[in-house]
C-alpha cells in the first residue's frame, strides 16, 4: 500500500537535500561545489535547526570529504557526501579505496562538465570518468527520480550481498536548479524503508578490533578485486528487489532502464538523464505521425545490465547512442562502446550510430533529436551507417 505522499515544487538539489534529511545519516562530510552547492547549504540548515542527528564535517576539500566519509563509514556510521565535476575528480583516488573497503557510502552527484576549459554546466564527463572506480551508478531524469534513487541507494549499498558505494546522478542546473513538481514520501516511511544501519564489522567495535586498509600484494590483491566484481554482480538482483519494494511504498516503478515506446520501435535512441525527457517529447510527436520510434533511458550503468539491454534493443533496426561526454578514443563515447559491445552477443544486431552531444551544458532541443531520428531513417534506407560518430550541434 503506497504511503500518502506530499506534492511539492522543488529543485533537484532541494529534493536530494530533503531526502538526505529523511535518511538522516550519522555523518555527512561534504564540500560545496557548483552546481551541488545547494545540497550542502540546505543540509547545513537542517543540521543548524536540529532536524537531523547527523555529525556534519565541513571539510576543506573533496579529497577530504571522501576520506572523512570513508573513515566514518568504516567506523560504523551511515555516511554520505555529495559532489560535482572537479570535486569528483579530486575524490578519484579515494573512490577506488571506498569501493575496495566495501564501504556502503551513498553520494549524490550533480553532473557537471570537467575542466578545461572551466565550465559549470552539465555534461557527464565527471561520472563517466569514474565508471571504473567500483561504484554503483544510478542516473536520474528528474528531481523525482533523483529523490527516489537516493532512497533506494541506501538499501542497495548496505545490502550484505553488495556492500558497495552508490552514486546517484542528476543533471547539473537542468535538474538540480529546475523547479518541478514531485511527490515526497512521509519522513517516517523513508526512515522505515532505509532502516537502521548495523554493520557486521566496524572500527569502533573495541571488542573486535580490526585493521582497515592493510597492504595486500601479489598474494591477496587479486582476490580482493574478484570479491568486488562478485559484489557488483550480486548488486543486479538487489537493485531489482529494492526497486520492487520501493514500488510498494511509492507506487513508482524502477528497473535497470526505462523503455519508452520501445516494444514495436524500428528506430531508437539511448540517452541518459534529463535529455531523455526532451527525447520522449520527440518520440510522442513522431509517433503521432505514425513513425515507429522509441527510447531507452539507462538508469543503472554500474553494474552494467548488458544482457537486459541486448534483450531490449535486439528487435530495433537502428539505434543511436547519445553520449554526453567524449572519451577521445576516436572510437566513440562510453555508452556507445559498452552497448555496442553488449550487442555483439545478439543474433540481430541493429545498425548503430554514436552522437556526442550536450557538452558543457549546450542545450539539446527537440530539433537535434528529431534530426537524430531522421539520420537513423536514412541509415535504414541505405542499409548502413555513413558516419559512425557524430558530434551533434558543433561549429567545425
Amino acid at each position: 500500500m503506497a504511503a500518502e505522499q506530499k506534492r511539492v515544487a522543488m529543485t533537484g538539489n532541494e529534493a536530494v537535500a530533503h531526502c538526505m534529511r529523511q535518511i538522516d545519516p550519522d555523518v555527512v562530510a561534504a564540500y560545496p561545489i557548483t552546481p551541488q552547492t545547494d545540497i550542502v547549504q540546505y543540509f547545513s540548515t537542517f543540521v543548524s535547526n536540529g532536524q537531523v542527528k547527523t555529525e556534519f564535517v565541513t571539510v576543506e576539500s573533496e579529497h577530504s570529504a571522501m576520506s572523512a566519509t570513508l573513515g566514518a563509514s568504516m567506523a560504523g556510521a551511515r555516511a554520505m557526501t555529495a559532489t560535482s565535476s572537479q570535486g569528483l575528480a579530486l575524490m578519484w583516488e579515494v573512490l577506488h579505496i571506498t569501493s575496495s573497503y566495501r564501504a556502503p557510502v551513498v553520494m549524490p552527484v550533480v553532473n557537471r562538465a570537467l575542466s578545461g576549459p572551466i565550465n559549470i554546466h552539465c555534461d557527464h564527463s565527471d561520472t563517466m570518468g569514474s565508471l571504473t572506480t567500483g561504484w554503483i551508478q544510478l542516473y536520474s531524469e528528474s528531481a523525482q527520480e533523483a529523490y527516489d534513487n537516493l532512497i533506494q541507494a541506501v538499501r542497495i549499498a548496505e545490502h550484505p550481498d553488495v556492500l558497495l558505494p552508490v552514486m546517484v546522478c542528476q543533471d547539473g542546473f537542468i535538474t538540480s536548479h529546475g523547479i518541478e513538481n514531485l511527490n515526497l514520501l512521509p519522513d517516517e516511511t523513508v526512515k522505515q524503508f532505509v532502516g537502521e544501519y548495523k554493520p557486521e564489522h566496524y572500527l569502533l567495535d573495541l571488542e573486535n578490533p580490526i585493521t582497515v586498509g592493510p597492504l595486500a600484494l601479489q598474494d591477496y590483491y587479486t582476490e580482493v578485486k574478484y570479491q568486488q566484481a562478485k559484489a557488483m554482480e550480486n548488486a543486479k538482483q538487489v537493485i531489482l528487489d529494492v526497486a520492487a519494494e520501493y514500488e510498494k511504498i511509492s507506487g513508482r516503478k524502477y528497473g535497470f532502464f526505462e523503455a519508452y515506446k520501445l516494444d514495436d520501435a524500428e528506430r531508437a535512441i539511448v540517452v541518459l538523464s534529463s535529455t531523455a525527457g526532451t527525447a520522449k517529447a520527440v518520440v510522442d510527436s513522431l509517433r503521432a505521425r505514425g513513425e515507429k520510434v522509441g527510447l531507452l533511458k539507462p538508469r543503472v550503468l554500474r553494474p552494467f545490465p548488458a544482457k537486459e539491454l541486448v534483450d531490449a534493443l535486439s528487435s530495433v533496426q537502428a539505434v543511436a547512442i547519445m553520449d554526453r561526454a567524449d572519451t577521445f578514443s576516436t572510437a566513440g563515447g562510453q555508452l556507445f562502446v559498452e552497448i555496442r559491445s553488449a550487442l555483439y552477443e545478439s543474433d540481430k544486431r541493429p545498425l548503430m550510430k554514436n552522437y556526442i552531444l550536450g557538452l558543457g551544458g549546450r542545450d539539446t532541443t527537440t530539433r537535434e533529436i528529431t534530426k537524430v531520428y531522421s539520420d537513423l531513417a536514412a541509415a535504414l534506407e541505405k542499409g548502413r551507417v555513413e558516419e559512425l560518430i557524430t558530434h551533434l550541434d558543433v561549429r567545425e
Binding site: A29, E55, G71, A72, A75, G76, E93, V94, T211
Partner: protein, 313 residues
C-alpha cells in the same frame, strides 16, 4: 611523572614482529606516545613505512582499531572516524571512551598531507596527530621532503659537482601548527622519554586537536649505525637542532634547555648524509647551519619569554 618500570607495564598497542627496519625511530615514537593514552585508541596512519611494515595482509601488528586510507589524508580519514564516534555516542550507540590518534611521516605530514592536517586541526576534532619526522621520504628510498635539513644528501638532492645536497632550510611545521591556535602543540624526542610521555599525556588529555612532532631517525637515510638511533635524537636535542618545547593554548615553554648547548657539528658528523659538508669545497656551510640553529633557538627562547611576560601581566 611516571617511572620506566611503570611505563614498561603499560600494555603494548603495537605488537612485536612487524617489519620496520632495525633501529627505526618510528615504532619507538609510536610505542612511547601510546603509553600515555590511558584509554582505548583508534589509530589512523598515512601511507608510509609505518603503515606498510605493520599491516601486511593477512597480518597486523595493531591490537587497537586501525585505519589506513591513503598518503595525504590520515587527518581527514580520522576526522570521519571521530565524527562517527561523536554521532554514535550522542545517539547512545557507543558508550566507550575512545582516544583518536593519527601517525604520519614527514612526507604525509609536512608535504602531501599538510592540507588535510590543517583542515582537521582547524575544525577542532578531538584527536592527536603525531608526526614521526625522519627528514625525507624514506619509504620510497630517501627522497627530500620539506623537512629535510639543509645540506642533506638525498636521492632527489644528491651531492654532485655543483650542488652540496639539499638547498634551503627545513619548513618549521611545529610553528605552523602553533599558528592554528590549537590547544596543544609540542616537539618531542625518544631520547627524552619522560618529557615525551608527559607531553603525550597532555596531548591526549586536551579536548580538541593536539599535534606532536617527533624526531625519528632513519638509519638507512641518515646513514648511522642502527644501534645509535636514540643517541642521534639526544644529539639533535643537545645541539638544539631539535628543541624540546610545548605550546599550551599558545603559551610557549621550552621543556628542556641543554646545560651546555653542543655545536651542531656534533650532530652532523655522526651521519653519512652530511659527510660531504666536511669536504673543503663545502667550507662555510656548517657555519651557516649553526647560525640558523642559533637563530631558531634564540627565537624560541624569545617566544617563551613573551609567554612568561604575558602570564605575569
Amino acid at each position: 611523572m611516571a617511572t620506566l618500570k611503570e611505563l614498561s607495564r603499560v600494555p603494548e598497542v603495537l605488537a612485536p614482529g612487524h617489519r620496520m627496519c632495525a633501529g627505526c625511530g618510528a615504532p619507538i615514537v609510536v610505542r612511547q606516545v601510546l603509553r600515555a593514552a590511558k584509554a582505548p585508541v583508534a589509530v589512523a596512519n598515512a601511507t608510509g613505512c609505518l603503515e606498510v611494515s605493520t599491516t601486511i595482509y593477512p597480518y597486523t601488528s595493531w591490537k587497537s582499531p586501525f585505519i589506513h586510507v591513503a598518503f595525504e589524508n590520515a587527518s581527514a580519514s580520522l576526522s570521519g572516524v571521530e565524527a562517527a564516534y561523536q554521532s554514535l555516542k550522542r545517539q547512545g550507540k557507543i558508550t566507550d571512551e575512545i582516544k583518536f590518534v593519527a601517525f604520519g611521516g614527514d612526507g604525509g605530514t609536512y608535504d602531501i598531507g599538510l592540507q588535510s592536517l590543517s583542515g582537521a586541526m582547524e575544525r577542532g576534532h578531538d584527536m592527536v596527530y603525531v608526526c614521526y619526522d625522519n627528514g625525507a621520504y624514506m619509504n620510497t628510498g630517501i627522497q627530500r621532503s620539506s623537512a629535510t635539513p639543509m645540506g642533506a644528501d638525498t636521492t632527489t638532492t644528491p651531492v654532485g659537482s655543483v650542488r652540496p645536497g639539499k638547498l634551503g632550510w627545513r619548513k618549521n611545521l611545529t610553528k605552523i601548527m602553533m599558528a592554528h591556535g590549537i590547544p596543544y602543540v609540542a616537539q618531542i624526542s625518544p631520547s627524552h622519554w619522560n618529557d615525551l610521555y608527559q607531553k603525550a599525556e597532555k596531548a591526549f588529555a586536551v579536548k580538541g586537536p593536539a599535534f606532536l612532532n617527533a624526531i625519528a631517525p632513519c638509519p638507512r637515510g641518515w646513514r648511522h649505525d642502527s644501534a645509535e638511533t636514540v643517541q642521534m635524537t639526544k644529539l639533535a636535542v643537545d645541539t638544539c637542532f631539535w628543541p624540546l618545547f610545548e605550546a599550551v593554548d599558545g603559551k610557549v615553554r621550552v621543556t628542556y634547555k641543554p646545560r651546555q648547548k653542543k655545536p651542531v657539528v656534533e650532530f652532523l658528523k655522526t651521519q653519512g648524509r652530511f659527510r660531504h659538508l666536511f669536504r673543503p669545497e663545502n667550507e662555510g656551510l656548517i657555519e651557516q647551519i649553526q647560525a640558523e640553529v642559533d637563530r631558531e633557538w634564540e627565537e624560541l627562547l624569545a617566544l617563551e619569554r613573551l609567554s612568561q611576560e604575558q602570564a605575569a601581566e
